[in-house]
């Protein structure tokens, strides 16, 4: 009984870490642009696929996954992060920056457009069928008191935790992070203080997209298969996680991701897998009705 609980907890925390990594990208972009970046879930998908192709190019052999080596696995991650960072930059430059002064809903539509575009380019180039993800880190299973742990799940925790700490340091302790926070508080005032807002926004997209790429590769390792439409549901849940934690708040996004991951695995384990997706939204609605600013969001006083 306890074993089931801990098993679901472990599963939930590992998928939750992936949600958290993606949620960070949503929340940071929302912070600086007040835009729900619908294309972010497709950046996540592209991250998984660039990991797939770079692993094959680096000579991954499905018959002997152990020979790939950790160094090359790290290289795959780096290539994918760079590819997605460039993709994020490109999306921002072409689809969002020209609309900086338009009404808020207009970039939302281009975001949806970019999302549909990337999904279908994915189907065109990668094919609609799921593919097995190369296990660039060979799986080892441990059993602790009836709970199955794998090195992959531990790796997911470790990588996500490290990246979140780095991001926290980046946002809170560096000059660029301070500029990002300034832009998210007040764009025009930040510009008046000599901050190059375009650069800061572009940097936000780079960081968010690189995190999504990591999420894509970790998701691929965890679920063992990837497909062009994988971003839709995962991205939606990650976005819900960002809202749940208080959108614009990086720590909140991380907590929201973990919470949703655990909640959906517990629902799948104890109630029914059919309601796994519904629970995400039920929690979201419940939380927002009680705390409209999200779990860790700060409420703004409305001024006339």
């Amino acid at each position: 009984m306890m074993a089931t609980f801990f098993q679901q907890l472990v599963n939930g925390l590992s998928i939750g870490s992936v949600y958290a990594l993606i949620a960070l990208g949503y929340t940071m972009v929302y912070g600086v642009l007040r835009l729900i970046n619908f294309a972010h879930s497709e950046v996540f998908m592209m991250g998984a696929f660039s990991g797939y192709y770079s692993a094959l190019m680096l000579g991954f052999d499905p018959a002997h996954p152990a020979e790939f080596g950790l160094l090359r696995a790290a290289l795959v991650l780096a290539v994918s992060m760079i590819a997605c960072a460039l993709l994020g930059l490109l999306i921002e430059r072409l689809a969002y920056r020209p609309l900086r002064s338009a009404r808020r809903l207009t970039p939302l539509i281009t975001a949806i457009g970019v999302s549909i575009l990337l999904q279908n380019l994915g189907i065109l180039f990668f094919g609609a069928n799921p593919r097995p993800f190369p296990m660039i880190v060979p799986e080892t299973r441990y059993e602790v008191g009836g709970v199955v742990l794998t090195n992959i799940k531990l790796l997911i925790f470790a990588v996500s935790a490290v990246l979140m700490v780095v991001l926290h340091w980046l946002v809170q302790k560096t000059w660029t992070g301070k500029a990002m926070r300034a832009v998210s508080v007040n764009l025009s005032a930040a510009k008046l203080m000599g901050i190059n807002a375009n650069k800061v926004i572009a940097f936000t997209f780079v960081v968010g997209s690189a995190l999504a790429a990591t999420g894509g590769i970790l998701f691929g390792l965890d679920q063992a298969k990837i497909e062009p439409l994988m971003g839709v549901l995962v991205g939606l849940k990650a976005f819900v996680a960002a809202v749940l934690g208080g959108i614009g708040n990086t720590m909140g996004a991380a907590a929201g991701g973990l919470l949703i991951g655990v909640a959906e695995q517990m629902t799948a384990g104890y109630l029914s897998a059919d309601y796994r997706d519904a629970i995400t939204f039920a929690i979201l609605i419940g939380v927002l009705l009680v705390r409209p600013e999200g779990l860790f969001g700060s409420s703004k006083i409305e001024k006339v």
Partner: protein, 332 residues
């Protein structure tokens, strides 16, 4: 009294024209083309309804597919049971009999969707902007998942009225045109009434509107409920254009499609919503031959349209709408 007589006569004439036109189209136009027109008409009803809450009132909903689902399932369920009760054992119904079954079913679908809109709207409309959007999205998905898990409505395989023939195909040009005109006229007159002005005031500045004595919460809920009801009507028409309705017909993408229609047409414009619905419907059809490039070209078109015409096709301007008098309350 005389005015009502005139209006009644006018309505009869219009219905007659629609009926004749429908028969003529069915005889002379390829079924495929007619089907596109019907889908565009249903999309227009959805878009005009969504525009009332998203465009006029400025409360962003991206969960209207859920209300469409409620309308579709309620209408289909009512049709199946009502036709069995009124005309047992009869496979084909004459026009009058169809009306006797279909009209109450559509009304019931609208009422059910309005009720769902009320249940969703009362708590959610306390939220603003993107938070409201994401909560409506959540409710929409929950509604879909409820149908997905209900055995009465066939679960994930969908509802086909419990018979191999599937749902009866009632929806034709006559029904779409009549119901569509009714919805456009009602919503158009609501938009350009004092209520509509109050809704616009809420959109432009909620605090100022409240200070001016506008009951903001009440009106927001009203607009949301009306909007949900129109989505329900569209759902009912949609259900009887196919032989089966499935929960997957009402996914989050459907809500996004509706949002795209109203923004492409021009947010806040009733005629713009209709134009946007036809634009999206026809574009998606014309590009069908491109097969795998279809959605790619659709997405590119969407992005380019927004980059070069961010206010949509009409902006907030309005084409002349029949039976909607915009001059009664002075210029905007």
């Amino acid at each position: 009294m005389l005015m009502w007589l005139k209006r009644g006569a006018m309505a009869v004439v219009i219905l007659g024209v629609f009926y004749g036109l429908g028969r003529a189209l069915e005889d002379n136009v390829i079924e495929y083309v007619l089907r596109i027109v019907l889908f565009c008409g249903i999309n227009s009803i959805l878009a005009v309804g969504l525009n009332l809450i998203n465009g006029t009132t400025g409360q962003f909903s991206i969960g209207h597919a859920g209300f469409m689902a409620v309308g579709a399932y309620t209408t289909a369920y009512t049709v199946m049971h009502l036709s069995e009760a009124l005309f047992p054992g009869q496979a084909e119904l004459a026009l009058g009999q169809t009306a006797l079954v279909f009209v109450p079913a559509l009304v019931l679908g609208a009422v059910a969707a309005a009720f769902a809109g009320w249940v969703v709207g009362v708590p959610s409309l306390r939220l603003r902007g993107d938070y409201l959007a994401i909560v409506t999205l959540g409710f929409g998905e929950i509604i879909r998942l409820i149908y997905n898990n209900s055995s009465r409505f066939g679960g994930a395989t969908g509802y086909s009225g419990g018979r191999p023939l599937g749902l009866p195909i009632y929806t034709n040009f006559f029904w779409v045109a009549s119901v569509g005109l009714l919805v456009v006229v009602l919503i158009g007159n609501l938009t350009y009434s004092s209520y509509g002005r109050a809704l616009e005031a809420i959109r432009d500045d909620e605090i100022a509107a409240e200070a001016a004595g506008i009951p903001t919460t009440k009106l927001k809920v009203l607009a949301f409920v009306v909007s949900a009801a129109t989505a329900g009507i569209a759902g009912g028409l949609f259900a009887h254009l196919q032989s089966t309705i499935q929960p997957n017909d009402f996914k989050f993408d459907k809500s996004i499609d509706m949002v795209v229609m109203i923004i492409v047409g021009g947010l806040g414009s009733v005629s713009g919503a209709v134009l946007g619905a036809f634009f999206v419907g026809i574009t998606l059809e014309l590009t069908r031959d491109l097969s795998e490039y279809r959605l790619i070209s659709y997405a590119l078109l969407l992005i380019l349209l927004m980059l070069f015409r961010p206010e949509g096709m009409l902006g907030t301007r309005e084409l002349r709408i029949p039976f909607v008098n915009r001059s009664k309350i002075g210029p905007a």
